[in-house]
Structure formats: C-alpha cells, structure tokens
C-alpha cells in the first residue's frame, strides 16, 4: 500500500504545525491573539492539531469595544468549546480619553485600541512570543514577513534588516522587552483558508455568509468594516466568488486606505 501524495492543504497544515511546535519549544511565555475571524479560528484549529487537542498557552482578544455583538457571542461559545485560556484586553485609558471612531480617524483609533492595547497586554503579561494569523497575500508588506519576526521593545518591525531564516531554522531568541511574532499562516491564501475551513469543518462566525445580499469578507471593528455585496451562503459559493472577483480582501477595511502605504506605516509601529 502506498500512501497518496499530500495535497496543497496538507502541506500548508504540516508546515503550520511544525512552526507552532518550534515556537512552543523556543519561547517560555507565549500568547496567541485571537480576533474570532476566520484566520484566527484556523489558527486555533492548527494549535489544537499541533498539541493534540489542548492549547497550552492563553489566547488574547484585544477588545476595541467596537466589536460586533455576534463576534462576542462566538467568543464565549468557542472559549468554552475549546477550553481556551482567554484573556481580554481593552485600552481603558484611551477609551477614557475619548478615543473612538465617532471623533477620530481610523488610523489613530486602530493604533490606540489595537496596537497600544496589545502593548499594554504585553507589558502586563511579559510574553516573549505572539502567534499571529497574518498571511502574505493580505498585504504587500506582510508579504515580506518571516515565520519568526522579531519586534523590539518599541514594537517596531525592522523590515530593512530581518534575520535570515532557512531550512526550518528560525530567529528564536529574544532579549528583554523584545518579542517575536510567530506567523504560521504566512504561506496561506484567502482561498486556502476557506478550503481548509470547509475540509475540517471549522466553526466560524456566521457573518461571513451572505444575509440579505451582503456578507463580510474580512472582519474588523464594526464602524469601519463594510460588508460586500454577495449571495454566497456556503463555502463553495464563497470560493467561487473569490476566484471570480479578484478584488483585494481588505478592501472593506478603512484603516488600510487612509493614505498611501498606510498599512506599512501601521505595521512598522506594531500593528499585526
């Protein structure tokens, strides 16, 4: 009996699991940001696969206070279902100062309520690695990322001088105050994510599926995330839709389009 060759999805899955396990070995104190979005849930799933059903580190939800109620419901359900160690972080200080989409531009708000909140959580819990669900195909600067990507104490990404990474050997050390972003989904595309959700039957929030001719393709804060016109109510329909439209995934996210290379500027400052 010969074993059938591995599919593209098998290969992606194997590679991600390998990265998860390397990260778990390399770092003492890990957390995994979790937005409840589709990529995030694939990440949870891959972590379950990596560690045989138990995620041995906390998951972190950066709650911007502009979350869709449905997403919060999903959060509660999944936390219990997967027995996650959930940490919720809100930048209370910024909210107290009145930072919000009602009064400020999306770049400022995203920076304060996501990046700064993450910095606060990191200062509090002293994680030395964060496992993120970013993918190369989301944005051209993300395309330049490594699987293990160090960030300094100011959270800056030194994209002009990234450590070499080859043959499954990663930059796995940190000095005080630094942390490493571990990015197991880097090689996945949006279609891969959907195909995998379908194959594995991974639970995701229902907002990704069309209701009344609209669905969300990417989910962020409620005031700045716009649904797209769509009738796709199944994963097959979503994939068909994606293969025919060719518009970019984050088109519905306002903070990316505010100015030229907004994403690079956000990311250089520590945004995921």
């Amino acid at each position: 009996m010969t074993e059938s060759p591995r599919t593209h999805l098998d290969q992606l899955e194997n590679q991600s699991i390998f990265i998860f396990r390397e990260a778990y070995h390399s770092f003492k104190n890990i957390a995994m940001p979790w937005s409840m979005g589709k990529d995030s849930n694939v990440l949870i799933w891959l972590a379950l696969k990596s560690f045989f059903g138990k995620i041995p580190f906390p998951v972190l939800h950066i709650d911007t206070t502009y979350e869709f109620p449905e997403m919060l419901e999903f959060r509660e359900w999944a936390t219990a279902h997967y027995q996650l160690k959930l940490i919720v972080k809100i930048n209370e200080e910024a909210r107290a100062r009145g930072i919000g989409y009602e009064t400020h531009d999306p770049v400022t708000v995203t920076h304060e309520l996501k990046t700064v909140a993450l910095q606060q959580a990191l200062a509090e819990y002293k994680w030395d690695a964060l496992i993120t669900g970013i993918r190369r195909d989301e944005d051209p600067t993300r395309a330049k990322e490594r699987y293990f990507s160090p960030r300094n104490a100011q959270f800056e990404w030194d994209y002009k001088d990234q450590p070499p990474e080859f043959w499954g050997q990663f930059a796995a050390t940190t000095t005080k105050g630094e942390h490493v972003r571990v990015q197991p989904l880097l090689d996945w595309t949006e279609v891969d994510i959907w195909r995998y959700i379908q194959r594995e039957n991974i639970p995701i929030p229902q907002m990704y599926f069309a209701r009344n001719g609209q669905r969300f393709r990417s989910l962020g804060c409620s005031p700045i995330t716009k649904p797209i016109t769509s009738n796709a109510t199944t994963i097959d329909e979503i994939v068909t839709e994606l293969e025919s439209t060719r518009t970019s995934e984050r088109a519905g996210r306002a903070q990316d389009h505010h100015e030229r290379n907004a994403m690079q500027k956000l990311r250089a400052k520590g945004f995921l």
Partner: protein
C-alpha cells in the same frame, strides 16, 4: 482541484537591477494573477508621487524599496498556470542583502537566473549560481532580460550565453535553457515575441512549466526529527516531523544518538481518522510500546538505514554575519531539531564565490558573504546525513549568540562508522571562571543527584546506568558510592549512627565541590535519615549547585528477597548490627524530586524517568541565573 499536486517553488535570482522583480510582476500581470485594479492602484500611487511606474512595485512594496528601486527583502507569491501551482520567490540582487537572497532561495526547487543583456554577466550573476549549487538547487533557467536595450540582438544573446555557460560548467551546473526576454515590454515572457523571431525556444512561462518537480522525499530512507515530547494528558506523545520516507504503526525504530529502539504503537493526529501511515512532510506524533527516553533533537530511523552519528564532520559553509567566522571560536550547530555546541577546527578552503577563485592564504577566518570548506567539531554527537543523500539532515545553520550567522551542507560522512571516538576539544576562550562559563564549556550545569533507598533497592545499578547515559551525551559525570568513599575518604568511619551521619556529611561536601567544578555527581548511599538528606541539600545549595533527590523505592520484602550481598541474611542472623530496614530505621523522603519504583520499572525505565526530570535542570543557559 483539491487533489492537485504540490506547488513548485521557484526563486528568481541574479545581479541587482537586472529585472527579477519586474519579470515576476510581468508574469503575474500577463497571466491575470493579480487582484483587479492592483496595477491601476500602483500606477496612481506612482503618478501622485511623480515616480515612473514599475512592474517591480507589485513585489517591492516597502517605501524604501520603491524609492530606491531596489529589492531589500525576499517575498513569495503563489501563482498558477494550467500545468501546475507555483510559489514564486523574489530574491534581492544587491550584495548587501545576500542573507535575504539565501532566505528566499533556501526552499526553492528551481531557479530563474536573470541576466540583463545590457550589462551582461556580473558579480552576483556568478555568486548566486554558486550559492544555488550549494543549496542543492539543480534546475536553473537563465533568462537574458532587457533584450529591448540591445535591439533584440541575437549576437549579444549568444555572447552572454557562451560566457555564462562556461562559468556554469565549472560549477557542474547545466542550465535547462537560456531564454531571451524583455520583462518591461513583456516580450517572450508569457507570449512569443515578434522582435525575437530568431529565437525558437520556449517563453519564460513555457520554460517554467517544463521544469520537473524535485525527487520525492517519500522515497528516501526514513527520518523523523523529534521536536518535543508532550504530556498534556496521560499520553506521552513524541511530536515531530517526518523529513523523509514513510512510517507505519508497528515499525521498529532506532533513536539516535541514544541508539535505543522501540516499536511505534500509534501514529497520532488530532481530529483525523487513524490510518497508521505517515509520510515525508507530515507533522505527527507517535507513541511507543517501550517507555524509552526520547527528547528533542533525537532522530528516528529504521534499523536498516541509520543516519551518521559523529562529532566531527566536513561542510561547505556560507557566512552572512558582519563579524567574521573564526577558527576555534564557540558556535552552535542547529541541524533539524538538534542544537549542539561546536567549534570550527579548520578551514581548508575559502572560495571567492563570484570568481570561483580559491584563496589559499586564508584559513583562520571566513568573512561576510564568503564560502568556505571546513571541519566542525561538536561537543556532543550529532546525527546527520550527507547532503547529497538526504538533504534535510545534511544541512545546518551556524548560530552565535542566538542568531543565525551562516549555513552549510555536509559532505563526506561515512555511514558504517557509528562509534567515532570522541576527540578532545581544542581551546575555548577563557577568563574568570563562573558557573555559567563552566556550563558553557561543558554544555551543562553541575549538579548533585542524590539517590536514597534501602539496601538492594537498586541505587548503584541505576546510578551506573544513569552515569553511562549522561556520559554518552558528552556530559561530565561521576558516581560516588560506598565502594569509592568507604575505602578511602571515610575509611575511618564505621556504621554507628554517629559515623553514618559523618559519612553522609563528608559525601555531601565532596559532592558539592564536584558539582561546583561542573560535574553531575550521582551519590548512591542508603542515606536513611531525613535530617542528613536535608543537610546534603543545604550544603549543595550553599554551593549554588542543583540538588535533585531521587527516591529509589522498593518494598523491604523485595529488597530482602534480592539480597545481592547477603546482607539481609546476615542482619537477620544478627551478624551485622544497625542494618537499615531490619534493626535501624529508614525514613522515606517526604517530597523527592523524582521517584523510581524498582519493583515495577526496569533499570532502563527508571533511568528514563530520571533523565526526563533531570536533563531540563542541567541546561547550560540557566547556570548564571
């Protein structure tokens, strides 16, 4: 479509500015692989900043890259033709970013080497080809780009082809084909070109589609590299990746470097139907039928095709750090999941990788971006294969101070020899000696491993087996027991309660000194009194040594039945007095670090239990904490 074959990874390399990124951008554009509006969006952005539009900006997304029109870092982009799936890797051509070029090229199956017709063969055109051979990439397509700048001249194309082919012959590399093209105008990239009428070969895209997937890793001898051992529940799962070959439940495996064997009980995957087979590339877990000790770094193979185990090997190595590599300086080899201290014993050859000239006057160091042929000596045995046999276990990164500084491929290892004698290390930089420095040199901390238990419980046997295990890991270790203490140091002591106390006190002090000198001391005395053992612990801790108490437990009846030295019999007969368990008390430990139960565990299992707890405590990096 779900069943489709693996994607081919192709890296684009060549001299700076010769058009690699442009060519990729052009391919993606001409095959309609870009998101709608992507090109328009870049054009608008360029117009707004008064810059000329470049196809390269599809990949060169960083502001700094666009401003200077240069690729800084590598990126990867999926793409498909009707024939197959690709991952296209853009690599920078600037010498400054060689580490990024290597990062990009290291995983590729094939390469497109771009040479601008206007400039011809340049320094990185040659260096990159050389690095491709070192990385084991054998399929190379040469694209002679910017043909529009030389009026699509056939003569110019032939000149370059002849010159470059000659260079490739020296490298033992044959290009699959030479393709003239213009990335900027799209000539002969995805479509045949009128301007290149004289050319009858494939377009760039056709040449890509004609490359073959590399030989399957499944057909090579089996290698499984242990990443970790998980105990999240009652199961003990050995997690890792199969680098090559096939594994079936029930297979008998040899774990190197310990040379222990066990059958595979199950192949574990979460939420997946069990089918008992796993192949190259699979990230799996396994459970074993015997509870042998296994840890990260171990390599499992089948008995018939074991890897090489050695502490000395030869390699070709590229060096990409600012600080030069120096003979004799300490580094760490990372090979698959192994992590072993090493030093470079000698550099036999340094090659200028762009001219292939051998520098004969250099053998003390390797400068940035140079490639050397050298000999490396490791502190503990390393499990490896020759690169040309099993590439995944024949390549390694050289690490200094936690950072990857270079990488190499191994050649010339001999397979039959599994007992290469451990030769002494050369000279390691010294200074004022702290426990941390000692640990750095030996690769582990000193410690006192204190066995306690009844006579006949198995202390000496297990102590010796443990000593051997540690020794085979190139660790400094020594057993103190009645045989070597009672006859010398403590020859003036008897077995009265006072003498027993003094006996243990002296052993405690000696053990502390030895641990302080970096040795893992194993003491094998009955040491029946809680108080004595508590003091042994205090003495060790005063000396900053790790103290690990191991309760070697067996019921009195069992020990008495074993009675290896007939001591119980004599005690029962009243021939000896104050015998522990008979007419003297034994106070079992309240909270020992480790318990082994010798009436239920074999010696090997007991040693495995101890190693599992002990080894993490001996890690060198925690010595100065």
């Amino acid at each position: 479509m779900t069943r489709n074959a693996e994607s081919l990874k192709v890296v684009f390399v060549g001299h700076v500015d010769h058009g690699k990124s442009t060519l990729i951008g052009r391919i993606l554009h001409d095959t309609e692989s870009l998101p709608e509006g992507k090109i328009d969006q870049i054009k608008q952005a360029c117009a707004a900043e008064g810059m000329e539009f470049e196809f390269a900006f599809v990949l060169d997304a960083l502001l700094e890259e666009q401003e200077q029109n240069v690729t800084i870092d590598t990126t990867q982009i999926p793409f498909r033709t009707s024939r197959r799936r690709y991952a296209i890797i853009d690599a920078p051509g600037h010498k400054e970013f060689l580490k990024n070029m290597i990062t990009g090229a290291s995983n590729a199956d094939a390469a497109v080497l771009v040479i601008a017709a206007s400039e011809g063969v340049r320094e990185q055109s040659r260096r990159h080809a050389y690095l491709l051979t070192l990385l084991g990439i054998k399929q190379v397509i040469v694209v002679v780009n910017k043909m529009d700048l030389v009026d699509f001249s056939e003569q110019r194309f032939q000149e370059i082809k002849t010159e470059y082919q000659k260079f490739l012959v020296d490298l033992d590399l044959t290009a699959r084909c030479f393709v003239p093209a213009s990335a900027k105008s799209g000539e002969n990239v995805a479509h045949k070109s009128e301007a290149l009428r004289w050319y009858h070969g494939p377009t760039v895209l056709e040449a890509l589609d004609a490359t073959e997937p590399t030989a399957s890793l499944v057909d090579l001898p089996f290698r499984f590299c242990v990443q970790d051992v998980y105990r999240f529940d009652e199961r003990r799962i050995i997690a890792g990746r199969i680098e090559t070959g096939t594994l079936r439940a029930g297979d008998e495996l040899i774990f190197s470097p310990a040379n222990k064997s066990s059958k595979v009980q199950t192949i574990e995957r979460w939420n997946t139907e069990k089918n008992g087979v796993a192949i190259a590339g699979d990230s799996i877990g396994i459970t074993l039928t015997e509870q042998i000790f296994v840890e990260r770094g171990y390599v499992a193979s089948h008995q018939t095709e074991t890897p090489i185990e050695t502490n000395r090997f030869r390699a070709d190595l590229f060096w990409i750090a600012r600080e030069p590599l120096r003979v004799g300086a300490p580094y760490t080899v990372r090979l698959a999941t192994q992590d072993v201290k090493c030093q470079v014993v000698s550099i036999e050859q340094v090659m200028d990788s762009s001219t292939l000239e051998i520098k004969i006057d250099k053998y003390e160091q390797l400068d940035r971006n140079e490639v050397g042929r050298l000999t490396i000596q490791t502190r503990a045995p390393l499990v490896l294969d020759n690169h040309d046999r099993i590439a995944n276990l024949g390549r390694f990164a050289l690490v200094d101070d936690g950072e990857i500084r270079g990488g190499g491929t191994i050649f010339g290892g001999i397979y039959t020899d599994r007992t290469v004698a451990k030769s002494k290390n050369i000279s390691w930089t010294g200074g004022k000696i702290t426990p941390g420095q000692r640990a750095l040199q030996t690769g582990h901390r000193g410690a006192v491993v204190w066995f306690t238990g009844l006579s006949g419980a198995g202390k000496s046997t297990i102590a010796q087996a443990l000593e051997r295990e540690l020794f085979s890991r190139a660790m400094n270790t020594y057993v103190l027991d009645g045989d070597n203490i009672r006859h010398g140091l403590n020859s003036n002591l008897g077995f009265s309660p006072e003498d027993r106390v003094e006996n243990i006190r002296r052993v405690s002090e000696v053990a502390k000194l030895m641990a302080d000198s970096g040795v893992v001391v194993i003491t094998a005395f009955i040491s029946p009194y809680l108080m004595d053992r508590r003091r042994a612990r205090e003495i060790a801790l005063e000396g900053n040594a790790e103290f690990v108490e191991v309760f070697v437990e067996a019921p009195l009846e069992v020990c008495e039945a074993r009675d290896p030295k007939n001591l119980y019999k004599k005690a029962r007969a009243g021939e000896i007095r104050d015998f522990t368990g008979i007419d003297a008390p034994y106070e079992p430990p309240e909270d020992p670090e480790i318990i082994v139960q010798t009436d239920r565990q074999t010696v090997d299992e007991s040693v495995a239990t101890i190693l599992e707890h002990l080894l993490p405590r001996l890690k060198a990096d925690s010595a100065d904490e």
